[in-house]
Symmetry: C2
Subunit: 293 residues, 2 copies
């Protein structure tokens, strides 16, 4: 499928995802003018120097004037807040998507706010890093990672088609699923693992050994397991709040599994057979993950 | 410090750790004859073909005859079981250590079983992988990783000196601490993370989405977080059983932290500020881990 081409594409938020998006679009010549719109002119200027955007604005009016595409690349809560504010400024026929990690509430807000003539669909590129800021951006940032696209019954077929071609042109593998299923799935695949990585580091930090000793003896396993605990707390707070019911359900299932481990450990003779079974279940599932890679 | 040199060093168990040890010792010329002792002649032969050992035995008598060093590289439970069986076969003055991931019970068993003339000290090289078998072994396997050495008041100074020079010659960073402290520390730094990785995969496997879908949408974060869930269940069962009291204590602390997260999530309006604080605590600790690397 041919990549879509836009005259004037606006990226709201020029952090790691927005900045990388600008670099990727410019490298592929998919957009004539990439417009950065954000709160801080300093960050926008840096993004321009890094080659992520051509034009910088701190107000939406001049940014969106004449635009035929808009990508909202700010944290989920800001995406929802922004939509009604800018709905009237988006030219008819423009393609609009976002990169939020939680989809149901964003898609609801977009469908409530945006006029019918706008081609909106929610996107969630699963590229990312514990790093932040356009200075860590890369034009190959979206290559090889999944991008979840979440149409509803109200989504126009042209919007889905554009989103598919857009993300595939950037090298992502597009997976289509509805917003509610997306959020339940991501609660387990992404949000719970982030919560657990943070909780593990909290547990170690509260232990009786100083973290310097922990670091001294930590092997690669602990570093891998907790790498995502270095992620931006403000962003992740928003993600957890936006997806609280699904995340809570998954957390309770996880605590249920931990209680099985507890029962096997908490005996005068710990139940080795039960623990081996638990490890086997985990191993089997983990190997399947690799096999499907 | 000069590397120690041995005439005849016996490695009991020629898996990933034992096999790599043989390759590393031979590459550095630290041992005249590396002797493999194990249950399966087939595995020993493979280890010999891989250059990990020079001589292979399935019985301890011929293996230990004339040996001046012995490294027990089998799972923790086997190490404890083997010690009284071979105590009388170890030549006086020989250096004896092990690579078990849990130390207190092994060191107790060794000190009870071994005659005074034997220079025993417990070791725990924190090199490893979710892979198993000498075929994944490498002569640089121990380079750059910590090796925890656990003397007690009964340990002879020559044994500590030998262990330090031995592991440092192989490229490990030696950290000295007593066996009980080792086990408490490792419960948090290694055993709990393994348990959690397995439990996370179990939770995902029991979810309503097939693991193929999970794999399709999983980003690097989940793969990193759960990599160690692919580890050998039988080995990890033993480790958890050997260190059950310390691991249980750590697991309960972890469940306590999860209940704080639960409380923040389980509200009509989820407590974003509390969750951000939790993420901040986790991030702060994780960044300290990197800073001390």
């Amino acid at each position: 499928m041919a990549p879509p081409r836009f005259h004037r594409l606006v990226i709201h938020g020029v952090g790691l995802l927005g900045g990388s998006l600008g670099m990727a679009l410019k490298r592929r010549g998919m957009v004539q003018t990439v417009v950065g719109w954000g709160r801080s002119m300093e960050r926008l200027e840096r993004a321009r120097q890094l080659g992520a955007i051509d034009e910088a604005h701190t107000r939406p009016e001049p940014a969106l004037d004449g635009a035929d595409a808009l990508v909202l690349a700010v944290p989920p809560r800001q995406i929802r807040d922004r939509l009604p504010e800018i709905a009237a400024l988006i030219p008819a026929g423009a393609f609009v998507t976002d990169v939020g990690s939680v989809k149901e509430r964003i898609v609801e807000a977009a469908e409530a706010a945006l006029p019918n003539g706008v081609l909106f669909i929610g996107s969630h590129p699963m590229a990312g890093s514990e790093k932040t800021g356009a200075e860590h951006g890369r034009s190959d940032f979206y290559e090889g990672s999944p991008c979840l696209v979440t149409p509803t019954e109200r989504t126009r077929p042209e919007a889905l088609d554009l989103a598919r071609r857009f993300w595939e042109a950037l090298g992502s593998r597009v997976v289509v699923l509805d917003p509610a299923r997306h959020d339940r799935l991501l609660a387990g695949v992404s949000h719970l693992p982030h919560l657990l990585a943070a909780a593990l580091m909290q547990t170690l930090a509260r232990g009786d050994e100083p973290l310097e000793i922990v670091a001294e003896v930590a092997a690669g396993g602990l570093r891998d397991t907790t790498r995502i605990a270095a992620s931006d707390p403000e962003l992740w707070r928003q993600i957890c709040v936006e997806n609280a019911p699904a995340l809570l359900a998954r957390l309770d299932e996880f605590i249920g599994v931990l209680n099985e481990w507890r029962a096997a450990l908490d005996k005068s003779t710990p139940d080795g057979r039960a623990m081996e079974k638990q490890f086997e279940d985990g191993q089997k599932a983990r190997l399947l993950l690799d096999a499907s890679e």
